[in-house]
Symmetry: C2
Subunit: 207 residues, 2 copies
Amino acid sequence: MSPADRVPDVVIGRIPLYLRTLSQFQAQGIRITSSKELAAVLGTSADQIRKDLSHFGGFGKQGTGYHISYLVGQLKRILHADREWEVALVGAGSLGSALLNCKEINRRGFAIVAAFDRDPTRIGSQAGGVTIQDGRHIEDEIGLRNIKLAILAVPGPAAQQVADTLVASGIRGILNYSGLALRVPEEVMVQDMDPAAHLQRMTYYLG
Amino acid sequence: MSPADRVPDVVIGRIPLYLRTLSQFQAQGIRITSSKELAAVLGTSADQIRKDLSHFGGFGKQGTGYHISYLVGQLKRILHADREWEVALVGAGSLGSALLNCKEINRRGFAIVAAFDRDPTRIGSQAGGVTIQDGRHIEDEIGLRNIKLAILAVPGPAAQQVADTLVASGIRGILNYSGLALRVPEEVMVQDMDPAAHLQRMTYYLG
DNA sequence: TAGATTGTTAATCGATTAACAATC
DNA sequence: TAGATTGTTAATCGATTAACAATC
């Protein structure tokens, strides 16, 4: 398929997982792989992997498979992961701080460059190389720096209000750790990181 | 549709989100809602909500809508969220500790009743009402208590080895915060909570 | 060359959307 | 009753799976 047609979102959701596993292969010193091998590790099918990749072009060689370093480069390009993305964090409690100090997020191309909280005892303190700012400065700071991604790590009730502020600031994607459903305009993306919801998805299958 | 046929997993994934929003309605004092109203808040369609619910039976009244307290009760029953699930946590670093102290997880029916780490400075300390145990006791403790769910919050390289231990202990579902792809047997479920992967899913759509 | 594996086309399967009769 | 909304059936749409020619 040609690279120009619209790629289903479900496919977009799988590309980061392919990239993640390919990077693990790379770290293990593996240089070449096949859709079959990748599928075995990921628990999907080789057919699906080849079909997914074909939305963007041909990256392999018949009879051989894929050069991992090349494919990793291409997938990064596709996901726009070939540059560093600035991210704002709202909520510098224990969860927010853990994310601030998470090296893995950084290694994968994201830099948390601004952090906010409304608790005066936290404002002004340092964590993960940034200074926690007063939540009142969210709109100024995000607007000024033109930040497009935010991590929402405030607990419960305040989440919607903060989300509104983030949207007003120009944020286009929210990683939502609040455990609440957020109402946002259609053009703003939300990825829910809700432990209870994900656990419930599994308890359905357990007696 | 009759309650007995196989329900698609994509539907199961949405039920916790319906439940979550209905609970929010409840907290706001709203007692009755409709598929239309719910869809507006969730950003989906009324058709889809009704179709999803119909897999399990009929919970509403024509012309009226749904009694929220009744529907909440039914969805909890369907997800087996009408009882408390014991959860094991492996990795009591900053992220693991944040989860241990997360009240929201508890309110939604999950109790982290055992926590493990391999760092001697953490072993024996208290957090969120449990004592951090030596990781060597994972298999004994989980087997003994018959725990079926685990949260994996160890960083990078150790994750696969811990996952193997969890599987051997009888764990059936893993909430995976490690940021690595896990290889598990088919009968074990994994939910990936990988911030970088979820952010990349959004950066695809941003220039 | 022979074997392996890709990228793509065709066939199947499944999910979403639309429509509507039933009924509160 | 009239208006509203459900649960379900039918129609459409889209994704997955299967198959295979191309070719390394």
